[in-house]
Symmetry: C2
């Protein structure tokens, strides 16, 4: 099933069930008002939502209405956890290669993750507000999962069973704030402003056999100012699958229902063509494009985003239909 | 007023109002069931809770019952944000001095903060479960505040107005996991397991004039296995006050109601006595004791905590009464 959260002026919005083709929606009132409630009590509430979903797909229930992604908050407008990985090691390799630094050995054996802020997410069509263009505004197209309860010490395989929903994320990053923050040793903080999520979150069955052992084998498309810059395969080259990412969190603590876990920037390797490397799949964040430029030309030539720029992130299923709806955001000057 | 969250088998527990002397409690049913609700709608609900608090303090309302800290979850059993600072620069100086590394210049001009996990906090009397003693189990006695909404771009002074509640925190740390994590560059993650909080959270007026411009001028007492190891002044030597910490978060994003912001380990400078340094106030985490030992003797002699060890953290007001109740935890083997 597909679930979204409609804006209603409240902090957590109103849960709606959305038809598979994203054309129609229906309030989940009577079953649950908020998505967090559903995650807190999944086994009881999910089947009831599934029934409503079947009805919405089957015909037009009386209270259905046209689904409008512009009315969506993030599926979880605020969450108790947002832990983001860097699961595509190719991304790390590129960025490191561009600055002539080796990838540490343990990057290949255990996931790199950071804890993100989760008190104030952006909806799929919300403007992304920043005080300054000088911060190095960048998008990051990612896949994310929402979990149930996963107890401390769970294995990657056990952790897979804790995955309830899939989404896309736009993990906004402020690149020029990163070097100073990382130098301080405590990781990202100001360099990671509010993250945005796709209009709908979907259960695993919606991905069909594109969901395999904790990886989503679909193409994540990124369009920057209307131009397609990334057609990246989110599955094959994911170095750590979502079960491994969740198990990494679980090593020393419980992961509780409603936790969001991200894949990090979806990234694909270059292919060799006539002895030259070509990054034919494009990129899911500008930092990676700049890394490639630095490797090829000695310096980056693509600037980061400017006020008014737009970014669109979407993934289509094997049937050609949008699975999550599209994230479509505009970079805005804060307060304007 | 003083607020606590009683265990009732649910994820968020039941909000109770606790008398000033921590002897008596009363369910807040009819006003609000959960503390997050109150923070979401502070101006409407807080006065109603204050009325109940006055009644509880004034006499014995019919449904009052003896307050038992063992029944407490964390005041917010889960939260949308837990951002922890390192606001006592003395702590950083000691740890750096012990490993012969200089404190970076910008540590004195802007706060060091990390984003913590907030989906699964521990109650004040809950065991702290760990899979291994080899992880370097350490307590960290801290002051923490709970905020209302503080918009992006707020100044430190504006941020002070967003502080709703004060608590104590025990920010459990796994010291032997830290070097590898910091070397990876993304900051703490597995090295910061679930944090515990004091039995009650209190409004600023409960601290009386001990609360001054974003600092709590009280002594935070730490007793490890029954022995007092820290009597640290939380006020004077706080390098960055809570308004500055919150403003640091706000630089690139909104801070939303129910965010918890921590001070970092409370830490006081040594005094010079007969030409020798003496750390007369003791320590609020073992890592600091070990840093002092390393500075004095070339190596640490105090081990980290073992299964069965206990830690007690408390702060008394100028009237000699416990402000927050005591955090009293036992280090437990996970699953036992």
């Amino acid at each position: 099933m597909k679930l979204a959260t409609y804006k209603d002026g409240s902090r957590d919005g109103q849960l709606v069930v959305v038809s598979r083709d994203l054309s129609t929606a229906h309030y989940a009132t009577g079953i649950a008002a908020k998505l967090q409630q559903v995650l807190d009590d999944w086994n009881f509430l999910a089947p009831q939502l599934q029934d409503l979903y079947d009805t919405v797909n089957g015909g037009k229930p009386r209270h259905a209405f046209p689904f409008d992604p512009a009315q969506c908050m993030a599926p979880l407008p605020r969450a108790y956890q947002w832990a983001d990985g860097s699961a595509y090691i190719n991304h790390v390799e590129l960025v490191r290669l561009a600055r002539n630094s080796k990838v540490p050995e343990n990057y290949y054996t255990e996931p790199l993750m950071y804890q993100g802020g989760s008190d104030d997410f952006l909806g799929a069509r919300d403007d992304a507000p920043f005080a300054s263009e000088d911060w190095g505004i960048d998008f990051e197209a990612e896949v994310a999962v929402v979990t149930g309860d996963v107890p401390m010490g769970s294995t990657p395989e056990q952790s897979l069973d804790g995955i309830r929903l899939l989404m896309l994320a736009n993990d906004w990053s402020l690149r020029h704030l990163i070097p100073d923050e990382l130098a301080k040793g405590f990781g990202f903080f100001q360099s990671k402003p509010a993250t945005a999520f796709s209009p709908v979150a979907v259960t695993l069955d919606e991905a069909g056999d594109a969901w395999q052992q904790g990886k989503l084998n679909l193409t994540v498309q990124s369009q920057w100012n209307g131009r397609t810059v990334g057609m990246c395969d989110a599955g094959q080259e994911m170095t750590f699958h979502f079960g491994q990412l969740i198990a990494h969190i679980c090593k020393t603590r419980n992961v509780r229902a409603g936790s969001i876990v991200g894949s990090g920037t979806v990234s694909n390797r270059a292919i060799e063509k006539d002895g030259k490397k070509e990054w034919v799949k494009g990129y899911s964040c500008i930092a990676e494009k700049r890394a490639i430029e630095t490797i090829l030309d000695g310096k980056p030539s693509t600037d980061y985003m400017k006020f008014g720029d737009t970014i669109r992130i979407e993934a289509k299923g094997r049937d050609g239909l949008s699975v999550f709806g599209a994230i479509e955001q505009r970079v805005a000057r804060q307060g304007k």
